[in-house]
Symmetry: D2
Subunit: 334 residues, 4 copies
């Protein structure tokens, strides 16, 4: 039964992978219309409010385990407040902080926020505010909200078409490459898929993850030349039918559906994009796509000729502004 | 906006988690009825045959990236051939081999098999043959089977209700605890959920993973006192409707459905259990359940009083032999 | 291209089918726990309240077009108030009344009720109170509840897992045959499927309809020997996933699931049975099953040897009390 | 409990509805590429071949009860062969033939075809060949294809994503009104929905049925001014997920998806449109939409201002050629 191949186990990799960032912990969104934004997340997406403080409201999906996965903060314009990552250990947090500082991109420690402990702030080369943290507060449901499912932090809401957990974030910037390299080198993200134009000379977009998810974060080139803008935040259903259910209540309740439900070839993502009333684009993810367990994964590259299936495998196209609209808005788009 | 909590980042864990095993690479099943077993996997589950060699046939689901995820070997009795794990790097492979050898459970290196390179063989304390490996052969589709989805190794078959990838394995043994400890300590598995009886004194079952999946492997107590038996191998659909589709074709084509479609509270797994014609229990997984990204996850423990929802959250019960039937069969069960 | 068969169109049927009853218009349920019953229908099944009058509350599903499809009336015991059928024309109403009167089963005209005009009351041979009517009030949504779907009487609720319309009713009685014959002969129902035991001597259950639905009504033998009891009322989703969604919120909110989600072979019905807090059994129908357009349909008969697939094609079994429990309860069942 | 409304049952309708046509029995399609067309229907849609005769092949979906629901005939150009309707009784057949003859649109009796008896041929005012028939041959499965579901004429195929039954047909013509009136007056069809432009002056499209289905047939204005063209034939899944499954295999196997999966507001139809290799547009219907049981149904009218939701409620738009492409093709479209 033995094959003819040589039995020399142990060819080493030049560099072993880093396992230091564990997950996307939360995202802060700015909105100029906080009441309408909260109505969207709470009544239509069934999210729960954990706390209010100043101009911010903290929300979580019903299977998010921590205090919050979304911080909605009133601001003059829609856009990204910050992105927070949890490390795989407190030691990993220290090592990643040192690595970021060595690149000169660190901002410094905050004492924390509602729901989590000290966080180290930094910005990507593309201008996106982020933080790294270890200590988090877990959500504890009051007795009437406890589920017989001990692995579910609370009952499934009977309100809207409730999302289950924060999935990923997609950010825009003028040049994808330096930000992608930073995420790989300082934080250990792995490139899962990308869009390269002109024979690989132009890195248009990249999808990265620290887990078997195809992405916890993606970056795409901002055609307006802006840095630091938000393309979308994505929440996860895990059940394809729920995209159709959500589409129905969006179509009946004044929420603009930009695209979908449909399936991207990229990430095999069952998508739908809508605009929350504050103007931020929100993606709803219908299934789990495919998962990457291969530790030697080579990025899947979509180029001019394959991109049609990559952008939309089925389910209607993406409008032109999908590639230019971000928050905060610039010029007069949308 | 800063909280009053102390800003002392860096409380260290006593021991940082191991990230050395990446994934369940493949499983070998024994069957006394190879033709019928292959018909089940190929015609009803839509699996593809990669190669034949001696008494073995190598199969893969259409989104399995390697040469095979299932090796079906003719044998006098149904049961488990072996379980293979791929490490996160060749260096990790060397380290894990050293750790296993230090426990005295190693068997030694094989030169490899069809589809993979050298593999280190060992047995769990519970008597289950396993191997660790790094080098794998990737499946390459012939032109007519290539998908426009560049992240899909081949087109979705138009045969049966095709499964997408190998998901997990569930093994039985006389005592769960020593095997669970071995998986944690030597291989870095993390306990995600378990069933403890008598106030925690009896470890009845445990679900472990090295990834956000709730489990790549589970162990449950074998009421017959046997060691090393197989409870089931599980393939994944990711789409709940496909369990119903599969149930229809099983019910019409002589495949016994033992339980489901339904939902376990444990792992929030949308399950269905059937017996392939050779006698091995096969699970089909409908969705992705929930995923665990929390790096400090505490095991969810089901006890006598919560187990009803844990075993079946909805969808009909589990028959008594679910807890006693394994392969190879002993006595006269089923 | 012509076949050799004789071209003698016009072999006549002995009797042409009657098309005089159009639909199941509404059902009245008695409940000893009206508040809890209303909470079940309104908060978990997303039904809308149209009106209250005396001890009754009138409800409709969001795609029911008339004033109500369910009248919930407080009463000492759970059970059936009455069943109302709408005819295909006012002339048909007159003809059916005459036919019922000729059988001596008529009770007389009522002036009508909230939401409908004059109704002719009668009882089946099996003791079930029914009425026939023509005039109905249509539901008119207030502006904020109007849907852009002009064929949907109101927006889909964002509350619970909302049912779409009343589907059918299932009644128990001591002898099925006389009641089935009455429904066929006086009202034009057609037998679609039945369960016959002992070589056809015992008519255990029958499913009848006046439309392509497999049934708007079914009758089954009451093992207790009672007459006039309710087995269940069924509301329709039309989307299989919604049964799983409903199962989740039932399992988390104290609603007992008796059986399912699963699929009956009979009617190919994707079913789930639960008990509303007042004690009446409620079925939720996941898809549309199959539809019967054949005007010369011959009843499908399930007998002892085929009944296993008929009762449950997949998805767990039916408990013993499924065949004995009805409302009002007798003896100590459940 | 009595309402104040007068209890004068018996307001009569001027004209009682006709119940003389029961169902769409089968459709004949012309194709210039019979092999490729058959591959599409048999391998991708899982249809079964009943018989071959001359240049025709007879097919049925697995829940079609008769000999065939589709006759595929080789011809120089794609397009409609004919549409066949089954009446509710042999007497009704005679009465409808007399009515058609009185309008001068009859062609005469054929002796029948494979799978059915004598058929009366006629053409609509819009130029569509049709026939009316009563006698049909039922499909009888050989033992190995018999299902334990006694109400299913054969096992569900394990090939492609199998459709369940013929649903409806959509035809184009220069003027909708005369054809719609003919279908109502001579055959008893009821208008369920329509698109009227310019304040009702222009009848752009109409959906008609003889059953609770929103339509067995629709007519839309042909912008090219042609008469008698086919817009599409529709087969039914009844399960929304199956549209996504079919989309996957179409996208991987060279079948052009014109639009969808998505949901029309009109008919609440979960649609997908594709072109079979011969050039005919085929619709796949995902769920059952809504059903109309109201015997006094008033047509739902979509006008300029409501049509956006009518055309596509969610799921991507309809391309311009959706309104101009029909078979046989004229000019250079597509």
């Amino acid at each position: 039964m033995m094959s003819a191949r040589e039995a020399t186990p142990g060819t080493t990799l030049d560099q072993e992978p880093l396992f230091e960032v564990a997950q996307l912990a939360h995202v802060e969104l700015f909105t100029p219309k906080p009441d309408a934004t909260l109505h969207f997340f709470k009544e239509l997406l069934g999210m729960e409010e954990s706390e209010r403080e100043g101009q911010s409201v903290y929300l979580r999906a019903y299977e998010d385990f921590y205090h919050h996965s979304l911080k909605v903060t009133e601001a003059p314009k829609a856009g990204l407040g910050h992105v927070a990552w949890r490390t795989t250990s407190p030691q990993a947090l220290q090592r990643r902080v040192a690595a970021i500082e060595s690149r000169g991109l660190g901002v410094g420690w905050s004492e924390g926020d509602r729901g989590h402990g000290p966080a180290y702030r930094f910005a990507t080369p593309g201008g996106h505010p982020m933080e790294l943290l270890w200590e988090v507060d877990y959500y504890e449901a009051p007795p009437e909200m406890q589920s017989p499912l001990l692995n579910r932090p609370q009952k499934r809401p009977v309100r809207g078409v409730p999302v289950r957990r924060l999935d990923h974030i997609n950010l825009m910037t003028d040049e994808v490459t330096p930000t992608r390299e930073f995420m790989q080198e300082q934080l250990g993200f792995r490139v899962r898929e990308n869009i390269l134009f002109e024979g690989g000379k132009v890195e248009f977009a990249t999808w990265l993850s620290v887990s078997p998810l195809v992405h916890e974060i993606a970056f795409m080139r901002d055609a307006t030349g802006c840095r630091g803008r938000l393309h979308h935040v994505c929440y996860w259903y895990g059940i394809p039918q729920h995209l159709a259910d959500a589409a129905e209540i969006f179509a009946e309740n004044g929420i603009a559906i930009e695209a979908g439900p449909g399936k991207h070839g990229i990430a095999q993502a069952l998508f739908m994009y809508v605009f929350e009333p504050g103007g931020n684009r929100i993606e709803l993810f219908g299934d789990s796509g495919y998962l990457i367990f291969d530790p030697a994964w080579k990025p899947v590259t979509w180029q001019e000729e394959s991109l049609k299936a990559g952008a939309v495998f089925y389910g209607g196209g993406l409008p032109a502004e999908f590639f230019t609209y971000g928050t905060p808005q610039v010029g007069g788009s949308l």
